[in-house]
């Protein structure tokens, strides 16, 4: 589904990603761990097409298409979803209006008719229940005045609504209490299928107790320096990153 080869990316002239390789197949869950500043969010932003980052060399294919050639919204419409580490507030724009616009643009892209107001609301009800998001939040402005945990749950709610092929979750677990963590993980697991894939960026093993990854990668200094199964996460939790740095 996703293939990243020898990806180099920089921001303001500083190289952050320095030859990153990663392949994700449909039905898989991958986890990326790594110390602060390693480039995890950078990778997520590059996948989503954030313009501040310049891809200097390397390639990304998504479903056999050149992802780097696509605009931000094309990627989204093709099924790349990024759950932001820091979701943005958009004053005055209601969550519902925002999502309806997004859904209908994606549907139009796929040649599907717009959803009726009734169907849309039914979907909102169903999916917000999935992440236990208070229904009143749906009518409030996007993320405005949401607590840290509510913002994260709102991201997963949007993911549930938009049903992406590839979901990239950037530290969706940070700032969540234990119950919320379980709810969010439950949401991700329910949405999992043989046709979609998930890339989880996290610092904590505890999320991976709930979302069981097929692969765990360590991102360090702009490269994936180690890949293993879910045991690797336990090992990292125990030993930290130093042993990997010294191996390098």
């Amino acid at each position: 589904m996703l293939k990243i080869t020898d990806l180099h990316a920089s921001i303001n002239g500083t190289e952050i990603l320095k030859g990153l390789n990663l392949e994700i197949k449909a039905g898989e869950i991958h986890a990326i761990m790594g110390p602060n500043g390693a480039g995890k969010s950078t990778l997520a932003s590059v996948l989503a097409g954030k313009e501040d980052y310049e891809v200097t060399s390397g390639a990304i294919t998504f479903e056999d298409q050149d992802l780097l050639e696509m605009s931000i919204e094309e990627r989204a419409r093709e099924g790349v979803f990024l759950a932001f580490q820091y979701p943005v507030e958009i004053p005055g724009v209601s969550n519902v209006n925002f999502l309806k616009t997004a859904m209908n643009e994606i549907r139009e892209h796929k040649g599907m008719p717009a959803l009726s107001a009734k169907d849309f609301l039914r979907l909102v009800k169903e999916k917000s229940a999935l992440v236990d998001l208070d229904a009143s939040l749906a009518s409030r402005a996007v993320n405005e005045g949401f607590s840290g945990g509510e913002k994260k749950r709102n991201e997963i709610f949007q993911m549930a609504m938009l049903e992406p092929k590839l979901a990239v979750l950037d530290e969706t677990d940070s700032g969540l209490d234990i119950d919320a963590l379980r709810i969010v993980a439950g949401g991700v697991n329910t949405l999992k299928s043989a046709n979609n894939a998930t890339l989880v960026i996290t610092h904590y093993q505890r999320l991976l107790d709930h979302i069981i990854p097929d692969f765990v990668h360590v991102l360090y200094d702009g490269k994936i320096v180690k890949t293993g199964g879910k045991e690797l996460a336990l090992e990292l939790e125990e030993k930290g990153y130093d042993w990997i740095k010294s191996v390098e």
């Binding site: 958009i90 724009v93 925002f98 643009e105």
Partner: protein, 228 residues
């Protein structure tokens, strides 16, 4: 020219949506729109001006309220969008004469293309206007590197029990917000219209329902082609 007089306990809400011909992309043609609007409030009366200005090549418009009666209230809600070579210079005057008078000013300016957009206002608290209150919020959004956004408020206060608050901000449309919308599959043009409409919500909410829908569409249309 419009004159409003609100007698004791009367309330007037005056809403305008203005979309006269703004001229072409090079700034040729278009209507010159010079307007005088003023209102007088007796005791406990309220006048509320709401305006959405998207048209005309040049607009000068300062709907004002003379808050003569005690406990009278003046409000001014304005959205002014300028694109291409349009010029909008709008604002209000709130003259507080009566005791416990209250005024609220919410002004949202959006400038794109080569346009110039100014807020110009006066809040005047006269000596006898004890316990007068004013709150003003004037925000400007910039969408083109050759457009201008200007804020010229005047505050004159001669009474110590008055409470006046004025805030203004000028900034570019939020790039993070745009990215967030686009990441969810929304096109740039739609995203801008969404964000701008959200930005103007407080004012648009003041409009009667059918007007508000119209106004939202107008905002999107007048900003068409302002990016990329």
């Amino acid at each position: 020219m419009v004159e409003l007089i609100a007698l004791n306990k009367a309330e007037i809400k005056y809403s305008t949506v203005q979309n006269w011909y703004p001229g072409d992309k090079e700034g040729k043609g278009g209507v010159f729109n010079f307007v005088t609007k003023r209102g007088l409030c007796e005791a406990h009366a309220k006048i509320s001006w709401t305006q959405v200005e998207t048209g005309s090549a040049v607009t000068w418009k300062y709907p004002s309220c003379i808050l003569k009666g005690d406990y009278s209230v003046g409000e001014f809600f304005s959205v002014a969008v300028t694109n291409n070579f349009q010029q909008a210079d709008t604002g209000t005057k709130m003259v507080h004469l009566g005791k416990h008078t209250k005024s609220t000013i919410i002004s949202k300016g959006i400038s794109a293309g080569h346009s110039q957009n100014s807020y110009r206002g006066l809040v005047q608290i006269q000596k006898q206007a004890a316990h007068a209150r004013n709150f003003s919020q004037c925000d400007s959004l910039l969408m083109g590197s050759v457009s201008g956004a200007h804020t010229f408020p005047s505050i004159e206060c001669k009474n110590a029990s008055a409470q006046i608050e004025h805030e203004a901000t000028t900034s570019k449309i939020g790039e993070d917000q745009l990215f967030y919308c686009q990441q969810r599959g929304i096109s740039e043009e739609k995203a801008i219209s969404l964000i701008v409409n959200g930005y103007c919500k407080e004012v648009l909410n003041q409009l009667p329902m059918e007007f508000a829908v119209e106004a939202q569409k107008l905002l999107s249309i007048s900003l068409e082609g302002s990016v990329g």
